[in-house]
């Protein structure tokens, strides 16, 4: 049987990881070592995570539909969405790069939005089913989200370098900023989710059985 810190009146400091003891009589506990305000769980974690996640899901649509890059080579003008950019790389024979762009820009944000949505629903429904799998999923989503930004940086380097006047140039398209917003919002969503909420229903179940 697992005992949680919260059930024993211990609060873990988010700032310095000191384990502080504070009973419910203390109104606004702060860490004895570094002064950070202590919370048993991140305040309003579910509401904040939902807000960031829904915003990310909405912006995911224009991020994928609008072109992220316009390029011109002599008289050939080309407008690329993330998908058409990946297809272009694939047809050019750069299958590795095409796969990296496809996974980092299209698959990861979508998987991250769906996974965090699942974690939120499971926490809200007080699910006790397979928390270990959800804990691992959370760790993976928190780690991998930043890599989705790679396409923005590819665009930035191309825009910065390919400026040959009328001969060839690259301009960022309107989708780029939506895309960056999706990445930032999913990162904020996973930072505001408190993974301890995945485990709390187990404690409640233990208490009920006793």
């Amino acid at each position: 049987m697992t005992v949680t810190a919260a059930s024993q009146g211990y609060l873990l400091c988010d700032g310095c990881y000191r384990l502080n003891h504070a009973g419910p009589e203390v109104l606004e506990p702060t860490c004895a070592r570094c002064g950070t305000a202590l919370h048993a769980r991140k305040p309003a974690s579910l509401a904040c995570t939902w807000a960031y996640l829904l915003a990310a899901a909405i912006l995911y649509i224009p991020a994928n539909l609008l072109p992220v890059m316009d390029s011109a080579k002599l008289t050939i003008l080309q407008s690329d969405t993330i998908w058409s950019g990946a297809v272009y790389l694939w047809n050019e024979g750069n299958r590795m790069l095409s796969a990296i762009v496809f996974i980092a820009s299209i698959v990861i944000p979508a998987v991250k939005i769906v996974s965090l949505g699942w974690l939120l629903i499971a926490a809200q429904m007080r699910s006790t089913h397979n928390p270990l799998r959800r804990a691992r999923l959370y760790r993976a989503t928190a780690y991998i989200g930043r890599w989705s930004m790679v396409d923005i940086f590819v665009g930035a380097v191309l825009v910065g370098l390919v400026q040959f006047g009328a001969f060839a140039y690259v301009l960022p398209g309107p989708g780029a900023i939506f895309f960056a917003a999706v990445v930032v919002l999913t990162m904020l969503a996973s930072a505001s989710f408190d993974p301890r909420l995945t485990w709390d229903p187990l404690q409640e179940e233990q208490a009920r059985e006793r």
Partner: protein, 211 residues
């Protein structure tokens, strides 16, 4: 409240309360319930982190000072530094993307370097930094927004894309960015917040004894 919490640990990911085991140098303890890493015994953590961070600062200074890449096509040559990319993005009318790149690839890494060197050097010299709390809170919040490693992957991809249309030459900054990514990763791996706080507590009690 006189509660000994010295050998008790709470898992930051699932809140399970457990006893801290004795750890050999380099040894680590994982949470018995969710498997998250709880503690790792890193000998000379502060010194190693400081050394890697100084190296990272030098590499990043080079990454900012030298051109990243040079492009040659039809007799025209263009080259760009890290900051030049941001300027070009501003000039082409996309300030929002320019700001994203400026923050994640230049501002946050510098803030991270300056803040962590400030903390590490003062503590190494045996002084408790005045701005201890704000510095640590800053580091804790900004680390995730530094994305130089992602930028590095992005510049490799654009390099391959560009070789089709022009002759591409990698500048010094390209290698410096690579070196910075490795050194920062080494610094992060060597860093142990527990031993840092232990040092701070020792320094504080010494200061109190002197006063």
């Amino acid at each position: 409240m006189a509660t000994t919490t010295n050998n008790l640990l709470a898992c930051p990911e699932c809140d399970a309360l457990q006893r801290q085991p004795e750890l050999a140098p380099g040894g680590a303890a994982a949470c018995m319930r969710c498997g998250a890493e709880l503690v790792r015994n890193k000998p000379d953590s502060l010194e190693h982190t400081l050394a890697f961070m100084v190296g990272a600062a030098v590499a990043f200074a080079c990454a900012n000072a030298f051109p990243l890449m040079q492009l040659e096509a039809n007799g025209i040559t263009t080259e760009s530094t890290l900051y030049g990319l941001v300027k070009q993005l501003f000039a082409t009318g996309w300030p929002s993307v320019a700001i994203v790149v400026l923050v994640t690839v230049i501002v946050v890494p510098w803030a991270q370097i300056v803040t962590s060197l400030y903390l590490l050097i003062l503590i190494k010299l045996g002084r408790v930094p005045h701005l201890l709390q704000p510095a640590i809170r800053t580091l804790d919040w900004i680390w995730r927004w530094g994305m130089v490693e992602v930028f590095f992957l992005g510049s490799i991809i654009s390099l391959v894309k560009l070789t089709k249309m022009a002759d591409v030459y990698m500048g010094w900054a390209f290698y410096a960015v690579g070196a910075y990514v490795l050194l920062l990763a080494a610094a992060v791996a060597a860093f142990d917040p527990k031993s840092l706080w232990h040092r701070i507590e020792v320094l504080r009690s010494r200061e109190e004894a002197r006063a």
